[in-house]
Symmetry: C2
Subunit: 457 residues, 2 copies
């Protein structure tokens, strides 16, 4: 058996009109993308034709409506619920993985376990769940709470939520459903495993009313980069989406997560690390710079300032001069890793408030690469080959053109270097990513208990 060369994994991170905050104003953008199903069909089918591992959808369960002036100038308030959208996309795609974000703070584990198991069945083994804890008060207020859960509480709940979902996915062994009409036996109750979970946050009896799905379990994805987030991810995640500004950060995170995973008894290769990349691609550097400047010039200052609201804790940034430095900020109860990253960025480069929001208007803290297919491929190759990444989540600046550029210009360059597939090797998301299909725990135990007898016989 020949060892196949390790290749880059690619996710297409779809987001309404695009990842750049002013992307919707681009003359060729699909301004109604948030509720335009045909738009998403086209994007998903293009990503599949390019052999991407997966499409990825972020999510939040609120409209950030405290700043009406910014709200009215931002294209983030109308969007499909991700599982609904991915189920529909499952019916019009054949191979590409389908990763939806869903919150552990505002769902019941039985419902989410069912939905992802159903999506895995419908799509023939292409479902992934991006587990998030939700980090804004606006979301809490839509779910009969007066404020969000504290950071550590969210992660304790998330850990238990994950374990319940994983347990429910193993309610039935793979061969539990025999469906023998002549004998009248539909299922083998010896292969039914009732969860009977009783924990501090959830009591869930089970079993799940969906057969074990094609992937055994849908792929579990996470994005948290705080201490709590890293621990949860190292124990449970199979893919990690993360935001880095520099190669050194990426390398240090990569080494840390792989070590933590091994500490939890997993193989380093059981966790794929895929930083977000916001690419602006030109045939020349000048063309790329011009494309980027075109988008930056479309940012309304009201919108720019609002981008920093999520990281500012209790501080009202609009009270500070926009061309002055970022003030001291108290720790947020929101996503701490993100706050840290942006403060570090501002301090390191001595950025004013305005310069900081211009800096994150596209990539929101992820790596922004503005260049030619060659320079972008160079950077991806370095991160991939020198211990910074197993793949990348591609964040098109605007849609459809921003993704088209990456597919038409960068993907061929990666292929010339042997770094990206020309055809899918398998059919499931696990197969694309090189993740093993988890054996059912009871089937595994049965196999192990039979071992001595077989040797004796």
């Amino acid at each position: 058996m020949t060892t196949k060369k390790r290749q880059i994994k690619l996710g297409a991170f779809l987001m309404q009109t695009g990842h750049h905050i002013a992307g919707w104003r681009h003359p060729q953008a699909q301004a109604d993308a948030g509720v335009n199903f045909r738009h998403y069909v086209q994007l998903a089918q293009k990503a599949e034709a390019a052999k991407f591992d997966a499409v990825f959808l972020a999510d939040g369960v609120a409209v950030r409506s405290e700043n009406l002036a910014a709200l009215s100038r931002t294209a983030r308030s109308d969007q499909f619920e991700p599982l609904t959208l991915l189920s529909a996309l499952a019916a019009v795609t054949e191979r590409i993985g389908l990763i939806a974000t869903a919150s552990t703070s505002y769902h019941e584990p039985y419902n989410l376990a069912r939905k992802f198991a159903s999506l895995d069945q419908i799509s023939g083994g292409r479902a992934g769940w991006n587990l998030v804890t939700s980090a804004t008060n606006a979301e809490a207020l839509n779910f009969s709470r007066t404020a969000q859960f504290a950071h550590a509480d969210r992660y304790r709940r998330a850990q238990e939520f994950h374990d319940v979902v994983a347990g429910l996915w193993d309610s039935w062994e793979d061969d539990a459903f025999v469906r023998d009409p002549s004998q009248g036996i539909y299922l083998d109750t010896d292969k039914l495993h009732t969860l009977n979970h009783k924990g501090p946050h959830f009591q869930v009896k089970g079993p799940l009313n969906v057969a074990r799905s094609p992937q055994g379990r849908p792929v579990v994805v996470q994005a948290g980069a705080s201490e709590d987030g890293r621990e949860l991810a190292a124990r449970t995640a199979e893919v990690i989406f993360v935001a880095h500004q520099t190669f050194d950060e990426a390398k240090s995170f990569y080494a840390d997560i792989k070590a933590r995973a091994q500490h939890h008894g997993r193989n380093a290769d059981d966790v794929k690390i895929m930083p977000g990349i916001f690419p602006v691609v030109g045939r020349t550097q000048e063309e790329a710079d011009a494309k980027f400047e075109q988008l930056q010039a479309l940012i309304d200052p009201v919108v720019g300032l609002s981008l920093l609201a999520g990281i500012s804790g209790e501080v009202d940034l609009s009270a500070y001069p926009v061309d002055g430095p970022l003030p001291e900020l108290p720790p947020t109860q929101g996503p701490q890793s993100r706050q840290r990253l942006l403060i570090d960025l501002a301090r390191r480069d001595g950025l004013s408030i305005r310069q900081l929001y211009l800096k994150i208007a596209g990539a929101r803290g992820h790596q922004q690469v503005v260049g030619t297919p060659q320079t972008i491929a160079d950077q991806l190759q370095q991160w991939f080959e020198e211990g910074g990444a197993d793949g990348f989540n591609i964040m098109g600046p605007w849609f459809p053109g921003g993704l088209d550029d990456f597919i038409e210009l960068v993907v061929p360059e990666l292929r010339r270097r042997g770094l990206f597939r020309t055809e899918y090797e398998g059919r499931t998301l696990r197969e694309h990513l090189g993740l093993e299909r988890p054996q059912h725990p009871a089937a595994l135990r049965r196999l192990q208990s039979q071992l001595p007898q077989k040797i004796a016989a």
Copy 2:
């Protein structure tokens, strides 16, 4: 304008292998239907080609696993989650309505409002929500409860849940999203209406992060027939699915609901009543009888007895002689209307326990019609023309054949009588059903407040 003749509405009630409890054992049944997406695609596309108003999916959030012998012989334990399935079907159909059941006891209103609004967007205005309260302890145990909510509590919660969902669907006026890239204005905040709901069960601020959907609001469907259920339905439902055994029952229910709706300030025609019909169709009566007997003979007695478990309250029916009469039963905390209906049926016809389960093995309390296209059409026509129904929810005994028979034999007969459409009149589920698109309350108020000025001017 000519008044169009009133016609029968038809739903295709899809359920895994079929509605007859032994349907999965039919030699031509699709035994793995519960997790076979292609199977559902074929059924939905056939129903659409036949111009049905909608496909309909029931739901429960548990496996009834207390009786393992019955469980192992029943094809009800693996099924797609309905919203996931209907979203996927939305992508491969064009016109047919898509009605999914979802529980008000085990979801959060913000999540359900989003999912149905998303489905309505994806499908171009074809979504319907069958609001149920869930009525088994098995379900409660999957959601961190030790027992289900009491009957009246469930309905109080359901009423508030409905009002929150409807309010969230009206978060944005129809023309709120202007999406003007040149001015940089994406939405008009004057057309944003924050719900700010504070009730005994839910506190939900809003707004919803989905634009107002093509139907204004997805169609609201209900099935409760208890006093609490009727009141909720009369106030809020636009379609009612119901189980009747006799024309007299149907007529009395129909008159009662239409009167209650009017009492709540609605038009009688704003509520469509569609009883379930379990049809076994033969070209002759003998052929129909033989088809039915073929299915009845496949019922395992263990399974038959288990059918009565849901209605028996705290009484263990297996302790009574199977060929003796039904004992006295205390009121259940489950679906009371269903318990009443089955007890009445047994008493009226003097049925033994075995005769009762054989009687409900197919239709589960719904009208069972075993006959020729003519006799079945006669019955539907009578109910429709004499005040018993606005349409019917067709429950194929097994799939695909049980639905095929109805489509190929009964639908043409209904058309010959002018009772069913030959082509869709519109594009949305509301248009199929003849239900008005609800105006946005704020738009309506604005219109009303402008009226005097217009007259003055």
